[in-house]
Symmetry: C2
Subunit: 153 residues, 2 copies
């Protein structure tokens, strides 16, 4: 296992480095397709669909098959390295899952489909309280608030 490169770049604890390591540990091999998907995920602001990710990679000059995007996303999701976000339009979107458990939830505009992120500590606390109370082992939670964004209101 190679040592972690302790660079002088504070702005990039880089989720993709974390993901890369987890994949290596898992015995997965590096490849152009996988690197491109990791890089795309790392640089996206919020969630993105498989096709959006593929389009961006293609635009950036790397030609990879759409199947590889789906495969990589499935693999990453299985390892809990990315989170699937379902906005209700029949398209799965994904975003990096940070190892410290830090995460956010989404505001979905019913009119234009825009997605915004928010975080709220009390909401998280309420979720955890419920999780302790039910007869169910809760591993994750998805919350979406739906309505109208500022522009569509």
């Amino acid at each position: 296992m190679s040592a972690e490169p302790h660079h002088h770049r504070p702005s990039a604890p880089s989720w993709s480095t974390h993901a890369d390591e987890a994949l290596s540990r898992r015995g997965s091999r590096a490849s152009a397709a996988r690197n491109a998907v990791l890089a795309a995920l790392d640089s996206q602001a919020c969630c993105a669909s498989a096709q959006e990710i593929h389009a961006r990679i293609t635009t950036d000059g790397t030609a990879i098959g759409i199947a590889s995007v789906y495969r990589t996303l499935e693999l990453l999701h299985g390892l809990a390295l990315i989170t699937r976000v379902d906005t209700g339009d029949g398209v799965a979107r994904y975003e990096p899952a940070h190892p410290n458990g830090e995460h956010h939830h989404h505001l979905v505009c019913n009119a234009c489909g825009a997605v915004e992120a928010f975080h709220d500590g009390e909401l998280e606390a309420a979720i955890h309280a419920v999780a302790d109370r039910v007869d169910f082992r809760v591993d994750a939670h998805d919350i979406a608030l739906r309505g109208a964004c500022r522009r569509c209101r």
Copy 2:
């Protein structure tokens, strides 16, 4: 606004009656297909997909087209008479939305796909607090807790 019928029958304030009235008010016509879908929704325990609803109606001896099920669900959803539940398996499920705003959320088993319902007042309160704080008009919220049900744990 008509008075709420204060019957001696606590088990049947009947959502479908409420839905029927809302549809008539809207100028929609009654039909065998629509009635069958309303009845199916009214009698289901939790959420059901379009195909499940269609299968049940067919089994019960009424032959209607699958397109009518989708059409009716779309109409009802547009009037906020039903709620769409997305469990992440690419299939939309629906359940009656009760006029008093009473609703529940879902526990989804990642292993077997089972869906259970739960309700929690504090969670609702936390949601409303967030809704007031964000720059977004929040009309509805979806919450899904994912993990393993008792049998799959």
